[in-house]
Symmetry: C2
Subunit: 287 residues, 2 copies
């Protein structure tokens, strides 16, 4: 898996660089480029492996991988704003509004969302039918039915009188981070016109395990390794899988989800080795 992940990182960085290089130069493009640097590229990896499993070439899948990373970068830039999570550190570097300004962070995020949709129109991806189907699924995943809705629920939960329970925290996660992970995992099937359900099942379990691992890292993680502030959720008294299930309970739950994710890959047999490894990596990582 590591070799493929490194290859994906290189390809996606080049695709994002190329797309941003086509924009008018200036602070806006600089901030956009900065926001897309680094990251684990889990979403891009999912897109590329989903494509490979469905007989779609790397070349066709690459703009989609770049799109999900551009979209993810926009969501981080806006989430880090003072009016949102108010974070000054991301991937070990100052956040965009610290490096430039709040106005530039708002605009860079806005333009990264647009860029994500623009990348999905690239004709190398496939037929116009496939591209429109992708764009429609993408829009469902990242807007007021998906990611942005999850972020709104998350903010509402923080100010609610009653502490949310595991069911509610799960619902928030499924929207906030799960929907884009799910899109990434089914993208290859959509391009190929194949059945996306096994990959959808995989992604749902993987996404939840990923979030639980993030909550665990917020407690046990190392700031230098994760590149972001740790202990923030606890300080803020935020309900997380760790605060609700305890550290051990959260670890057990994440382990079960990873097993379910692996089981969902059954129809793909040996070919899905990288995705199986990713599922295990998600809960074993230290960043």
């Amino acid at each position: 898996m590591q070799e493929r992940l490194e290859a994906v990182k290189t390809m996606v960085a080049a695709a994002l660089d190329e797309a941003i290089a086509r924009l008018p130069r200036g602070e806006l493009a600089d901030a956009m480029r900065y926001a897309t640097l680094g990251g684990k590229r889990v979403r891009a990896f999912l897109v590329m492996e989903s494509a490979r499993l469905n007989g779609v070439s790397d070349e066709a899948a690459l703009p989609v991988a770049a799109a999900v990373e551009a979209l993810h970068a926009y969501s981080l830039v806006h989430d880090d704003l003072p009016a949102m999570d108010d974070d000054d550190l991301r991937r070990g570097m100052p956040t965009v509004h610290i490096q430039w300004s709040e106005a530039t962070a708002i605009l860079a995020g806005d333009a990264l969302q647009t860029l994500a949709f623009q990348l999905l129109t690239n004709e190398v991806i496939g037929s116009p039918e496939a591209r429109v189907a992708l764009i429609a699924e993408f829009a469902r995943a990242v807007g007021a039915q998906g990611m942005v809705w999850g972020q709104a629920l998350d903010i509402a939960a923080e100010t609610a009188v009653e502490e949310p329970d595991v069911k509610q925290v799960t619902r928030i996660q499924e929207a906030k981070t799960g929907a884009l992970i799910e899109f990434s995992a089914v993208a290859g099937a959509i391009i190929a016109g194949a059945d996306p359900e096994p990959l959808r099942d995989y992604a749902r379990n993987l996404g939840l395990a990923f979030q639980i691992a993030d909550d665990i890292l917020d407690v046990t993680g190392d700031e230098a390794a994760t590149g972001k502030r740790v202990g923030k959720d606890e300080e803020a008294g935020k309900a997380t899988f760790v605060s609700l299930l305890g550290l051990e309970g959260a670890q057990t739950k994440a382990g079960k989800l990873v097993h379910r994710a692996e089981a969902a890959l059954e129809p793909y047999g040996e070919a899905a080795g990288n995705l199986r490894e990713l599922a295990r990596f998600v809960i074993e990582r230290d960043t």
Copy 2:
């Protein structure tokens, strides 16, 4: 024209309502609906007339008209934020961050951009080819090559040491408001696969006239009629077409642009009566 404009307003309000009603209920959807209320609907009108002139039905064009208004609404919500233009009044009502919060305004804007792209995937619009072509043109118009770039240039100009000249203010306008107006005017031709150039020429002249008229209204306008603060640009010492050309100079320039816009409609003959009337309305309006 007025009759058609009223019909467009009714149709677009219904289309936006319907799209937002499909979203999960809550503050986010409420803020999105609120942000799309009212407005002159000039962009929607351009879409619907562009469609009609190119033999595209109202039904097919309506999701596109709703998309440009959703996109425009998002841009206003983000422009009004404290870190941007810091406006508390819009269309005679408190701006979204005043009515709810900054976080809700950021998220509602983000989700309105997504909704705009989602609306463009609607199959009633036409073939997948037509929809992908529209989405690609839309992305070029509203991101870091168009609207968002214009907003970034506008902010940079405000803090620049040298006052921008007419050429620079024109360049900012062409990106900030011109690009979306141009998209709206050519949308019908793109759906029909017809030549968009006459409508593009019309829209470029119309868009600039529209901005000059806005600058004039900021000086001569009535707060109750415009529904926004007047005299704001002058207070902020901002370079506008009025500050650079004088009131009379700005009026003369707007008049010339309207004549050019009307001339561009020549190929459509009598059928373009509404668009000719719109061009004159743009500089004669008091709101």
